[in-house]
Amino acid sequence: MLLAVENLEVRYGTVPAVRDVSFHVETGEIVCFLGANGAGKSTTMLAVAGVLRPARGDIQFDSRSIVGLTPEQVAALGIGLVPEGRRIFGRLTVRENLVVASGLRGGMAAQKQTLDVIFNLFPILRERYDGRAGNLSGGEQQQLAIARALLTKPRLLIMDEPSLGLAPKFVDLVYETFAALRDSGVTLLLVEQSMRRALSLADRIYFLQSGQVVLHGRAAELAGRSDLEHLYLGGAAAR
């Protein structure tokens, strides 16, 4: 198992956002977390990335507990997170955003290959290389965010709501990218609100509600269950 999370509990002050979450991700899989807003998906991911400290529970990466490590230590171990909202450095240029991310694995000079891959996947980034990142459209910013994450050479890439606020053509592009990433050996953990998208790509799916895992299974098995959308995703129409 690449990632194993057991009985995770994360609080904001005294309020528990994640109550008792257990899940795992095998190498080479694509696992998807589904749930309505406020279910605790993002909080779980932030805890895995070391940004939030869990009140209870264990997180194991490569059979080694990573609870209590700093975000930069977690990144060095090989977990990359593209958080909700993308969080690109809007005041920096596209180039500078990439430069920051390149530092973990030796700087831009050492990452020629990865940069080539990135520009092949997202040619817009080469076009807007010296432009202010804050001026990119939502979809372009998402590409930049993924590109940044790739430069940290993650073995596990966590994407939190990658399709949020994106035009459909960008979402398609982004999902194609995920497939390509999986083929090249990156394990993916996706957080989504769209069941259709999740089913199209994921191997296994976990449903989260009120901070707990309420259902999980292989995508193939869950594909026929149209009731799930209403039960766990607040009745959001299939997107």
């Binding site: 940004v51 060095a76 500078e96 390149s102 530092g103 831009m108």
Partner: protein
């Protein structure tokens, strides 16, 4: 007073304040803490020029080294002092999740500590020291005589600012500092080491304080354990008025404050002059109320931490 003289005076003071504000702004950008101790780092640099002694007269120590060695030594020393204050005061607090209020008080405490130590070692009596004596000469610009040290201050500041721009844009560490200032957590998620980037910011701020101490002492020739306070106040006001969280804002704020201060001093009628400082300090409150991002900060479209 002649227009050129006035401008040189104003720019010289503005340069000093800009340097202080830059130092304060660098640390504030990443840690969201106003480092009151910054002015006292400059004071440490100044006192390092003389032999530590409680005697009335302090013989020069580093102050009598050859120019280049002195500049390098003082800059390095104050940079180290900056790193040490971070390492032993602020880092332990950061690692204990100290909130903004606690950090603020602690920077005040560090400032007080530095002043108290120097007071203990040197006593409260001002001491004099002479460095770069050649700079006290005057030179001619456009037929007007101005103090060489002022011109040098302006020139050095301009060079330092240029160097900073290059560093912050072209050197990876500099870009990391800017990224950390914009969204510290995201930078860490991308692998930027928090302790390292903060230590670097303190080192640079310290180095700037060191150079400023040389310029300041070259001009005034006086050491006093409280000498850092007016500069820290100016830097603080400049940073807030210019724009916290924006380095450009901080620098422009410091510049603006120094220039305004100088010009008001020269141009206000005698009776109103004492009100000058009060007016400038109260700008802080006005800015915080009306335009909290500062007068000169660029529109902030970046992500919030």
């Amino acid at each position: 007073m002649n227009g050129i003289q006035l401008m040189v005076d104003a720019l010289s003071l503005g340069s000093q304040y800009a340097l202080v504000a830059l130092g304060i702004g660098l640390v504030f950008g990443i840690m969201r803490m106003i480092n009151f101790a910054h002015g006292d780092l400059m004071m440490l640099g100044a006192y390092a020029l003389v032999v530590p002694t409680t005697a009335d007269v302090a013989p020069p120590l580093i102050g009598k080294w050859p120019a280049v060695a002195m500049i390098v030594a003082i800059t390095a020393l104050v940079a180290c002092a900056g790193i040490l204050t971070e390492r032993f005061a602020f880092r332990p607090l950061r690692h204990r999740q100290a909130d903004g209020a606690t950090l603020l008080i602690s920077s005040f405490a560090v400032s007080y500590l530095l002043q108290s130590v120097v007071l203990l070692v040197h006593t409260g009596r001002p001491k004099s020291v002479s460095i770069f004596a050649e700079l006290t000469r005057q030179m001619e610009i456009g037929g007007v005589r101005v103090a060489l040290v002022d011109v040098v201050t302006i020139a050095v500041t301009a060079l330092l600012l240029l160097a900073m721009v290059v560093f912050l844009r072209r050197v990876r560490w500099g870009v990391e500092i800017r990224a950390a200032s914009e969204d510290f957590t995201m930078a860490r998620i991308l692998g930027v080491r928090a302790d390292a980037v903060i230590a670097l910011a303190f080192a640079i701020a310290g180095g700037l304080a060191g150079i400023l101490s040389l310029l300041y002492v070259a001009k005034t020739g006086v050491l006093d354990f409280r000498m850092g306070v007016p500069l820290a106040v100016a830097g603080f006001v400049g940073t807030v008025v210019g724009g916290m969280g924006s380095l450009i804002g901080a620098v422009l704020g410091g510049l603006f404050l120094g220039v305004a201060s100088s010009l008001l001093q020269a141009l206000l009628p005698e009776a109103l002059r004492p009100g000058r400082d009060a007016f400038l300090y109260s700008l802080v409150i006005v800015v915080l109320l009306v335009r909290p991002q500062g007068l000169f900060a660029p529109r902030d479209t970046g992500e919030r931490t």
